[in-house]
């Protein structure tokens, strides 16, 4: 059986981990198969979780989150016959498939939408744990905002410096209020479970928010502008489908491959004007065509625009 390990935010974070869960469920529905899953409770459990699943014969073992990188590096050689799939991190081992996303591209698109939807000209970004990966989100977002409105002001906050930043809705909510008081009227939350608090408060306070990873539009219908979907579900689904034959190496899920994008559905139909949609679609096409290149923060740990 395949197995899936969720990171600290937990399976039902309505975001990153829940997307992975969705992929697994899709696989279950289609194949009728069963899989094992595990939620991390603490940093120190990662190694045990990995080796225990490997020990139990699970194959492949999919894990969500960069934080598994270090332990996977040491566990993978112990179980050469087991295939591991890690999302959001590159681990160079012969039996590991590393899946990474071009979050900067998706963030660019929702950034454009944010700039267009904003009435105040100020938009916000709330990140989870302050790590290069999340800065990558932020950088793409900023580029998109500036592309749509070069005069826009962007307020940025990170929730924290430890993994608990992924699961701190109270802090998310307070940061949202702070950004609103600074004039932000569209806020993009790239913060896992913390984002629940961001979206909630944005809805309460009557401004727009942008979800992340999963399609979060339904959480507050008519209040969530869109979601930067990162098809973690597809990554999990495909890995499960491939089973033990999953191919080691690095897989980049980009806009062209449908790995990232923005969500449109009934819940946000009224928020997105024809014009806005057309502009974003056009930008997407240009990115795919290579006419627009969105800078990847992690390529040089800097962002060209602030």
């Amino acid at each position: 059986d395949p197995a899936l390990i969720y990171d600290l935010g937990g399976k039902f974070d309505k975001s990153f981990n829940e997307a992975a869960y969705g992929g697994a469920m899709r696989w279950v529905e289609e194949t009728g198969g069963s899989y094992k899953e595990l939620e991390m409770q603490s940093e120190a459990q990662r190694e045990q979780a990995l080796s225990r699943l490997a020990e139990s014969g699970a194959n492949p073992i999919v894990m969500t989150g960069f934080a598994f990188g270090d332990v996977l590096n040491s566990v993978a050689p112990e179980y050469p016959d087991t295939k591991f799939v890690i999302i959001d991190m590159v681990v160079d081992q012969p039996n590991v498939r590393s899946i990474v996303f071009t979050e900067e591209q998706g963030s660019y698109l929702v950034g454009m939408m944010a700039a267009k939807a904003s009435k105040t000209g100020t938009v916000g970004f709330i990140g989870g744990m302050d790590i290069p990966l999340i800065r990558k989100f932020a950088c793409g977002y900023v580029q998109g905002v500036k592309a749509a409105n070069p005069d826009a002001v962007i307020v940025q906050n990170m929730t924290g410096t430890t993994p608990s930043a992924w699961n701190d809705p109270v802090k998310g909510s307070e940061l949202t209020k702070a950004q609103i008081s600074q004039g932000a009227d569209v806020i993009y939350a790239a913060a896992g479970g913390t984002g629940i608090g961001v979206l909630q408060t944005a809805a309460d306070e009557g401004i727009l928010s942008i979800g992340v990873d999963s399609n979060q539009n339904h959480l507050h219908p008519g209040k969530v502008l869109t979601s930067m979907v990162k098809r973690v579900d597809n990554a999990v689904y495909e890995s499960f489908m491939a089973g033990e034959a999953v191919e080691p190496g690095i897989a980049v899920m980009d806009l062209a491959a449908g790995g990232v994008g923005f969500a449109m559905d009934d819940n946000n139909a009224e928020l997105v004007s024809e014009e806005m949609k057309a502009a974003v679609d056009e930008a997407a096409a240009k990115i795919i065509a290579g006419e627009i290149s969105v800078h990847d923060y992690m390529s040089d740990n800097t962002c060209p625009v602030e």
């Binding site: 094992k36 603490s42 120190a44 190694e47 699943l53 270090d70 040491s74 430890t162």
Partner: protein, 363 residues
């Protein structure tokens, strides 16, 4: 209150407490629509059913022995050390600093140095609450709780700002040099016949057993232990005998903190091989339950640590293979502490009529 025979107090009361905790847990499992028997089966199978399971059970046992002994030593000086968690985390800091400071050529050299680091740091973290209790009468329970929180904030700060290697995303130190890696059961000749897979249980287990023995010697064979126990039983009598309360509190708490810190040898050096946030994972608190169950005797602590190692590993397996959440082990742990530590008089009262009848029959 009627008295129970000593053996009943030492053996029967903890057993009944454990039984009560188990029964209530079973009721909870039933109430959430799961099968308690299945839970027990999975726990036993997962923790004791394979050498692999034992490798984990004994790993946890090792940690709990240290924290249990820490509570025990403090208890004999009538100090309730709730700070094991913080002391263990700071002990981990000591281990990490020692392991990272020197490119250790071999674990036999790294281990003693790391032990010293762990014990010193753990003891240092216990020193302030101890001093405040001894000199200024600040309640040690409250101060040690506060120090747990201060410890975790300090560790977060150090991991994020100071010790994290450049380019690493998660807050942790670098990996320790290979020369500091402790042999696990798989690497120990003889034991590797049983443990053919990599398990986290490592040489620290034997150090823990040695620590049990050392604590026993300390408490019941040395002058210092004599003074600690005398002070713990009666402060007034201790003063009559010329035993200095300040000295006893300080020394007992330093030893206690040192033992809690030593736990880090097991998890930080032996298993994770780098310092992580929240490395103690609640073992400091489990030490309270272990000491209570073990009646504050090293042998009892050893047995209780084994039991809790089983519960901890079994609970993890249960969380993995059944739909009962892993949190059941927190519940079980809470119940054991409640019955052995707080409702012990109730348990005793439940037993008294039984012994009274027997006494009558005998008469």
């Amino acid at each position: 209150m009627d008295k129970l025979p000593a053996w009943a107090d030492i053996v029967l009361v903890p057993l009944i407490s454990l039984l009560l905790a188990a029964v209530i847990s079973a009721i909870v499992i039933l109430a959430i629509g799961q099968d308690p028997w299945e839970a027990v089966r999975v726990m036993v199978q997962g923790a004791l059913g394979s050498s692999y399971g034992w490798g984990y059970t004994l790993y946890y046992t090792t940690s709990f022995i240290f924290t249990g002994l820490a509570v025990t030593v403090a208890y004999h000086a009538s100090q309730f050390n709730i700070g094991g968690e913080g002391q263990a985390q700071i002990g981990g800091l000591g281990v990490a600093l020692v392991c990272l400071a020197v490119p250790w050529p071999h674990w036999t050299l790294a281990l003693p140095a790391a032990m010293v680091g762990a014990a010193l740091f753990g003891a240092a973290w216990a020193a302030i609450p101890a001093y405040l209790q001894a000199k200024r009468g600040s309640h040690i329970v409250i101060t040690t709780i506060m120090f747990n929180y201060i410890a975790s904030a300090l560790i977060v700060y150090l991991l994020v700002e100071v010790l994290r290697p450049a380019g690493q995303m998660d807050p942790a130190t670098a990996r320790f040099p290979a020369g500091a890696a402790l042999p696990t059961f798989k690497d120990i000749p003889g034991l590797n016949l049983i443990f053919d897979k990599k398990v986290p249980a490592n040489v620290t287990f034997f150090i823990a057993i040695a620590a049990c023995f050392a604590v026993w010697i300390l408490l019941w064979r040395t002058r210092l232990g004599y003074q600690i126990r005398a002070y713990g039983k009666s402060e007034r009598a201790a003063i009559y005998a010329g035993i200095s309360p300040v000295k006893v509190i300080m020394i007992a708490m330093l030893i206690s903190g040192g033992l809690a810190g030593m736990m880090a040898i097991n998890n930080v050096m032996g298993e994770a091989e780098r310092l992580l946030q929240n490395s103690a994972e609640g073992a400091g608190f489990i030490g309270i339950a272990v000491a209570l169950m073990g009646r504050n005797h090293p042998l009892g602590v050893f047995l209780a640590a084994l039991l809790f190692g089983f519960l901890y590993q079994g609970g993890a397996e249960m969380g993995l293979w059944t739909s009962i959440p892993i949190e059941l082990r927190l519940l079980l742990q809470g119940l054991v502490i409640l019955f052995t530590g707080a409702l012990d008089n109730m348990v005793r009262m439940m037993l008294v009529p039984f012994f009274r009848n027997r006494a009558k029959e005998a008469a």
